[in-house]
């Protein structure tokens, strides 16, 4: 009897999670309905006019702001994260590895509001002269140069996001790198490869889809990040003229305006939430696909990659798992 209680109780819990998400989606669509029926779904997403007083809600400036800031975050964050992951997993002396890894993961523990606080009162003012210098020098480049640099701007938001996604991208990259069989690395070294040539020959090709997956999980985070961006982006509901100008994002508009919103405005904010939801769903689903594919190829534990920083110490030593599963058939490994 208790067995069945346990079994069905736990099954009910699991099903409740499914129900919860579907329920949320349906209710969110319901709340967004007035805005969508007034402006149309396409009209809402692609109209460049967010004017609360005129009751006009076209979310294009928010969508573009979200894409610009999270794109910047990828551009700046991923190369650093992957390079740091390579350093920690392939080059770092063993004594320093543990400490450096923990420090890097602590970056993920800093609350978002603290990033915002630091970003607006330290980072943005300190970087403003440098940004202005770049903007002046590159005044002939559209979108980057020419304008007046404001303290809160797209670039600062992207930079803060880059710092925030760094630990996740790096942690997943490291997990994938740990599944590269020692055989492949030794094969390249035995051909007379240097460390870098070994990384290029044996490590990177093997990890490509896992790293892409990690980057996309980071992108998902960047798209959905709210509070830090709200603090440093300036919350100006128009398409920013240039990189160092103020903007807005989907998440920020909700955090900033929801408190005072009523009627159509509130519905438009729900609609913005829905767009954000769908956007992150797509990005995350793609990311999972890549990470799972990487995990399936190696038979390692990457399919279970949990993007939280703390999952690292919990996971089984990936190298051991990889050799245990990889030992069976040389041909089964596939591509």
């Amino acid at each position: 009897m208790p067995d069945r209680v346990l079994r069905y109780g736990l099954s009910a819990l699991a099903l409740a999670i499914l129900g919860l998400i579907v329920f949320f989606f349906v209710r969110l669509v319901g709340q967004a309905q007035p805005a969508f029926s007034k402006f149309g779904v396409v009209g809402f997403v692609f109209t460049n006019n967010w004017n609360v007083n005129a009751e006009q809600f076209g979310a294009l400036p928010l969508v573009v702001g979200t894409l610009i800031t999270s794109g910047l975050a990828l551009l700046m964050g991923v190369p650093v994260a992957v390079a740091a992951a390579l350093y920690l997993s392939e080059l770092c002396p063993r004594v320093a590895r543990g400490a450096l890894t923990i420090l890097l993961e602590l970056l993920a523990a800093v609350p978002s509001v603290v990033y915002g606080l630091w970003g607006i009162f330290f980072l943005a003012p300190k970087l403003q002269p440098a940004e202005q210098w770049v903007a002046d020098r590159l005044s002939f480049v559209p979108f980057i140069g020419g304008g007046v640099v404001t303290i809160p701007n797209y670039f600062i938001a992207g930079l803060i996001l880059a710092i925030m996604i760094l630990p996740i991208v790096s942690a997943i990259s490291r997990e994938v790198m740990a599944t590269v069989p020692a055989d492949h690395k030794e094969a390249s070294l035995a051909l007379g490869a240097t460390r870098w040539e070994m990384i290029r020959m044996a490590v990177l090709p093997y990890c490509r889809s896992g790293i892409v997956g990690g980057a996309m999980l980071g992108l998902g985070r960047a798209i959905g990040e709210t509070i830090a961006v709200t603090i440093v982006i300036g919350n100006a509901p128009q398409l920013g003229k240039h990189l160092f100008g103020q903007g807005y994002t989907l998440a920020a508009v909700i955090a900033n305006e929801f408190g005072e919103a009523t009627g159509l405005h509130r519905s438009a904010l729900f609609a913005a939430g829905l767009v954000l939801f769908v956007l992150t769903l797509i990005v995350n689903a793609l990311a999972r696909l890549f990470v799972i594919r990487a995990g399936r190829r190696t038979g390692g534990p990457t399919a279970n990659v949990e993007p939280e920083p703390g999952a690292q110490p919990l996971a089984p030593p990936p190298a051991a798992a990889a050799t245990a599963t990889g030992g069976g058939s040389g041909g089964g490994g596939g591509r």
Partner: protein
């Protein structure tokens, strides 16, 4: 002949340079990645400590910041509100999260339903935290026609914690060797006893670690609380009413800044980071001392 070949095949300057340059760049990237952490911690301590005083922790924020630049009060209500709301959120999310993980590992396994559940748990991990706030708002505030309340904030935080707890618990439960399960079942123990006596105790350290990390994450979240628990100055233990929290108070102070409020924000941020880091470090210590299997 070999001697010539050894010399001839030695790394060319170009290859050697490339190797060194790339290794240097990777070390550089690691340093660059750690610079923000150092800067943030430095500024937090530098600015935060000067805001700290005994009364900082024992007084509520006053809201008298519009005309005077002093007497803005401390963070008592925020600190207590965070603790109370996160405690309730944990009380919900940890059992449910571990329960779902148990189902996945012990019953669902590789069935299609388990795959669907796993996928949706992954989806939940990727949902922006502000949407959890919106969700609770739609269901418990629009849906019931009532106002903000501490327990609604807790529920939003619990939703946020749930996938984190489930994911880490699943990893840990999978580490419990099947041989242990089988030997318990072979002794005639029913499955629930096997789970209660063998699986959970074996995985305990890992479960605690995962849960603590989820708690740390929830404690630092602002967005889910904005439209669920809202904001108040007063200390309150009434989960049915408005509640203050550290992240929300910091957010409010940052977005309507006067010098005194910004100083209070730094002090509160230092307190929040200390709280979160303590949770994080204790999670790591536990996972180090009590590893599964």
């Amino acid at each position: 002949m070999s001697e010539d070949r050894l010399a001839r095949l030695a790394l060319s300057g170009r290859r050697k340079f490339k190797d060194r340059a790339v290794r240097g760049a990777m070390l550089g990237a690691t340093v660059v990645a750690l610079v923000p952490l150092v800067l943030i911690l430095y500024y937090l301590v530098h600015k935060g400590l000067s805001a700290w005083s005994a009364s900082f922790f024992t007084t509520d924020p006053t809201g008298q910041s519009f005309f005077a630049n002093k007497g803005v009060g401390g963070i008592r209500s925020a600190l207590l509100g965070t603790i109370v709301m996160v405690a309730l959120a944990s009380a919900i999310a940890v059992p449910v999260g571990i329960g779902v993980a148990l189902w996945l590992v012990e019953y669902g396994k590789d069935s299609w339903l388990a795959k669907v559940v796993r996928f949706f748990v992954d989806v939940l991990t990727g949902v922006p935290s502000i949407l959890f706030g919106l969700f609770i708002y739609i269901v418990l505030i629009v849906g019931t026609g009532t106002s903000f309340a501490g327990y609604k904030g807790s529920l939003a935080l619990a939703l946020l914690m749930l996938p984190i707890v489930t994911r880490s618990a699943e990893v840990v439960l999978l580490l419990v060797p099947d041989a242990l399960r089988e030997s318990a079942l072979a002794l005639g123990a029913p499955r629930w006893r096997m789970v209660a006596r063998v699986v959970l105790p074996t995985a305990r350290a890992g479960l605690v670690t995962g849960s603590l990390l989820a708690v740390a994450r929830a404690a630092g979240e602002t967005a889910p609380l904005l439209f669920t628990a809202a904001f108040t100055y007063k200390t309150s233990f009434n989960l049915g009413g408005f509640m203050n929290s550290l992240p929300v108070q910091i957010f409010n102070d940052v977005t309507s800044p006067t010098e005194a409020l910004v100083n209070r924000a730094w002090g509160a941020a230092l307190a929040l980071v200390v709280l979160v880091l303590l949770l994080n470090l204790s999670a790591r210590l536990i996972s180090r001392t009590g590893r599964v299997a």
